[in-house]
């Protein structure tokens, strides 16, 4: 029953996905030929994830047809998809950290064969065969949590191979890899291709994987906007397709020569996480902090804000020492932290927009044991207006807002406390292109007003557009300090991943 017209392994036709009024995918056609390597590109929120979730059977399409290997599937579920040979390796790899390499690789296969009893010899044979296919050597008995990131990814690939994958979809496969590791990943991909296994890369950073790709598909706002041989694209045309325009970012505003020292971090150490962190931040400065996934950027932010306790070191704000490991005291001293993951760490999703802002100011508006609710609300409303949060009803739950507006709510909470230093972790993750530029404007304005900003991001154009100085981290250490005027995206990317 192979569909004669195309011979495609995956053939999705006019697939549409709606979430409660929001169209995440709009009439998208997507095909993958056997053994083909496809880049699926798009900005955050373009619908890439939705597309692969539909293929993996996690979400169901609202309309459209899906053929896998020529067979029409009305409703996919994860079992059907994997039985058909479609395997997704998500960014976190979805491995069991406490189990061994062999157990992880053989897990799905043994489940699928409905073995009631785990057979460890069989598991090791399966794992060995899969590892041989990609010609790598990882100890079979090692617990997965002890492996470096690149090896975890390989275990994920082997698990897919052990299940006879015909298509491996890799979600942002390079975000945590050094340049050398990316090289060896590409070699493995070539090997898979010659084996007849198709690969789909899902990414918003494509330069690295372009050379092995056969075809590029670009999504924007849920629509397919480009589809063609990889040789037709270059970095500039890709960006244009992804963003829909030539985004011209403003430059970071220059730092006043007499800017005073605001924050000094000295010898911050935390065993196994941070080593000898030293840097300072001036009033009005935007300091970039970047590094690969797992380089310790977020750990440093958490240690500075007191969410985790550093073993040693000092944090001095305006020449006053701040106690380590105490977020309440740190916030009180004038440091704010807007976390990376808005939905679980940043916001109280089911609570109202205004409460999400007011939460930082409750104690200030309490008098004689009672809250002055009117003052509290009017202050929060004022901040929502200043940050241009678009909403008709500030009593609506914050989850009803778009990503960009949610980020503004997170910012408003801290700005209401008039902080001296703001640590922003991935401030434009999951925010659409238009809002992103507005958030960058906002960050530059805040710095102009004298707040010191530490901006953690792996979005290099974003760092270059907002920061005067960029620190690069690797394995918990600051390894590089770059003046953003003297570098460009390419150089920065190289220094980051070398």
């Amino acid at each position: 029953m192979v569909s004669k017209t195309t011979g495609a392994f995956i053939d999705m036709q006019q697939v549409t996905k709606r979430y409660a009024g929001v169209v995440a995918l709009d009439d998208v056609d997507f095909t993958v030929m056997p053994g083909e390597i496809v880049c699926l590109a798009g900005e955050n929120g373009s619908g890439k994830s939705t597309l692969i979730k539909i293929l993996a059977g996690i979400e169901h399409a609202s309309a459209g047809e899906i053929y896998i290997n020529g067979i029409s599937h009305k409703k996919l579920n994860p079992r059907v998809s994997s039985a058909a040979g479609v395997m997704v390796i998500f960014q976190d790899f979805s491995l069991f950290p406490n189990l061994s390499v062999a157990e992880n690789i053989s897990f799905s296969t043994q489940l699928r064969e409905q073995r009631r009893i785990f057979n460890s010899t069989y598991a090791k044979n399966l794992a060995r065969k899969a590892l041989e296919r990609i010609d790598v050597d990882i100890p079979l008995d090692a617990p997965v949590e002890s492996l470096p990131v690149a090896h975890k990814q390989l275990v994920g690939i082997c698990r897919a191979l052990a299940c006879d994958a015909r298509l491996i979809i890799m979600d942002e496969p390079t975000t945590a890899l050094t340049e050398r590791e990316v090289r060896s990943l590409l070699d493995i991909i070539r090997r898979l291709k010659s084996d007849g296994v198709a690969v789909v890369f899902v990414s918003h950073k494509l330069a690295e994987v372009m050379e092995v790709s056969d075809r590029v598909v670009v999504l924007r706002n849920g629509k397919k906007v480009a589809d063609g041989p990889a040789s037709d694209f270059d970095a500039a045309s890709l960006t244009r397709h992804m963003t829909g325009r030539d985004v011209i970012e403003a430059q970071p505003s220059p730092l006043a020569a007499d800017a005073k020292e605001l924050l000094v971090v000295k010898n911050l150490n935390k065993t196994g996480v941070l080593t000898n962190i030293n840097f300072n931040l001036k009033a009005g400065e935007v300091l970039g902090l970047t590094g690969l996934l797992g380089s310790g950027r977020t750990s440093l932010a958490k240690a500075m804000f007191g969410l985790t306790k550093a073993d040693s070191g000092t944090l001095t704000l305006d020449s006053k020492k701040i106690a380590l490991g105490d977020p309440v005291a740190t916030a009180h001293a004038g440091i704010g932290y807007v976390p990376e993951d808005r939905l679980t760490e940043g916001l109280f999703l089911t609570q109202s927009i205004v409460r999400n802002v007011a939460i930082g100011r409750l104690d200030r508006h309490q008098k004689n044991g009672f809250l002055n609710i009117n003052n509290l609300i009017s202050e929060a409303t004022d901040w929502l207006k200043r940050l241009k949060v678009k909403t008709s009803n500030i009593e609506a739950p914050v989850k009803s807002l778009s990503g960009g507006n949610q980020q503004r709510v997170s910012l408003a909470r801290w700005l209401a406390r008039s902080p001296k230093v703001l640590i922003l972790n991935g401030p434009s993750v999951g925010v659409d292109v238009g809002s992103k530029a507005e958030i960058h404007d906002l960050i530059r304005d805040l710095a102009q007003s004298g707040i010191g900003i530490i901006m953690i991001s792996d979005d290099l154009p974003e760092l270059l557009a907002t920061c005067q100085r960029i620190l690069v981290m690797r394995s918990g250490e600051i390894v590089d300090e770059i003046d953003s005027k003297s570098t460009n995206e390419e150089q920065l990317s190289h220094r980051l991943a070398s």
């Binding site: 798009g42 955050n44 373009s46 939705t50 109280f348 939460i359 009672f370 609506a396």
Partner: protein, 338 residues
């Protein structure tokens, strides 16, 4: 600052509860009009429900944080036993009124302090030692009950001055004193939850503990205060029970734990935390009392009553859980990629 989870009033759990309360009342009135609607029955209901209703308030404040307090009955009995021992040791039935009031006041004070200490212990276990509330309070509840047994040898403590009976059996301006106590506590808790920084923090913490941590809320102090409030409310319930029974014993009110949880959940408190209103809990209390005295009049056995309560708890949870699960799902949707 209303919570708009249930923006439509007709869909709110409080509205649903009001319908249930009225339905049960009407149903019981129809089934046994002369007896259920008699003033005697109405008054006896007003004396009966405050003791477990106060325990339900204690349960509610803890559930709002996403926790649970299984030690409420243990604290009630422990504190009541201590108060009873103070009274029997130092006061006697033939004492002068002033002296017995003084000793009664002292006993009440001691019970409240002890309730706070018990709650503080729970708070330390949950906040600083990070134990799951359900296990921490299961354990501590057994310990408190154990202390009460050790103090009394398992038998009832009795022989109080007459003044002790006032709290549970008399009326003030025609209103039963226990009912007045309950109204004051319920109103106070409502104000605490909706008009103070502490109350809003409780709700926000219940909605997302991790976000509360990242928002630099002093979580540990807040949790300890929550359990202290719960412990003191339990102690007050214990004093009401002691007055009504004119004695204190280590195993009084053993069915009240299930009842308190049932009422809180029935009243719309989300056991995952973050949502709940006192008015809903009050309506749930009334429904349970109507149901319970109705069943009594229809001569349904006590065992059947527990069966009905247990089933009711599960049914209400099933009805509400579709809502809760939806909220949970939304809360953990990942942010990255796409």
């Amino acid at each position: 600052m209303k919570n708009h989870n249930n923006s439509n009033i007709l869909e709110s759990p409080e509205f649903r509860m009001a319908i249930i309360a009225i339905s049960v009342f009407v149903l019981m009135s129809l089934l046994s009009p002369e007896r259920f609607l008699s003033s005697q029955n109405i008054i006896s209901m007003a004396f009966q429900f405050p003791e477990f209703a106060i325990l339900a308030l204690a349960m509610t404040i803890v559930m709002l944080t996403g926790g649970i307090d299984l030690s409420v009955v243990g604290i009630s009995n422990f504190t009541a036993v201590v108060a009873a021992i103070i009274l029997t040791q130092f006061a006697s039935p033939d004492m002068s009124l002033q002296a017995s009031i003084l000793w009664y006041g002292g006993a009440i004070f001691a019970a409240l302090i002890l309730g706070a200490v018990c709650g503080y212990t729970n708070g330390i276990l949950v906040a600083y030692l990070g134990l799951p509330p359900i296990l921490a309070t299961l354990g501590s509840g057994l310990v408190f009950t154990g202390f009460a047994v050790a103090l009394t040898g398992g038998s009832a403590v009795m022989g109080f001055p007459e003044v002790v009976a006032w709290l549970g059996n008399e009326r003030l301006l025609g209103i039963p004193v226990p009912l007045i106590i309950f109204i004051v506590l319920a109103f106070g808790l409502h104000i605490l939850l909706s008009r103070t920084s502490f109350g809003l923090k409780i709700t926000m913490y219940g909605a997302n503990p991790l976000a509360a941590f990242f928002a630099a809320i002093d979580i540990n102090r807040m949790l300890i205060k929550v359990y202290v409030v719960s412990g003191m409310l339990s102690a007050i319930a214990g004093l009401v029970i002691m007055s009504r029974a004119n004695s204190a014993k280590a195993d009084y009110g053993s069915s009240y734990l299930l009842l308190a949880i049932l009422i809180a959940v029935l009243g719309g408190v989300n056991p995952y935390g973050g949502y709940g209103k006192i008015i809903g809990v009050v309506l749930a209390v009334l429904s349970m009392q109507f149901l319970s005295s109705g069943l009594n009049m229809l001569q349904v056995s006590n065992f059947a009553r527990e069966l009905i309560w247990g089933s009711l708890l599960i049914i209400v949870m099933i009805i509400n859980s579709t809502n809760w699960i939806k909220q949970k799902k939304n809360a953990i949707k990942p942010i990255k990629s796409s």
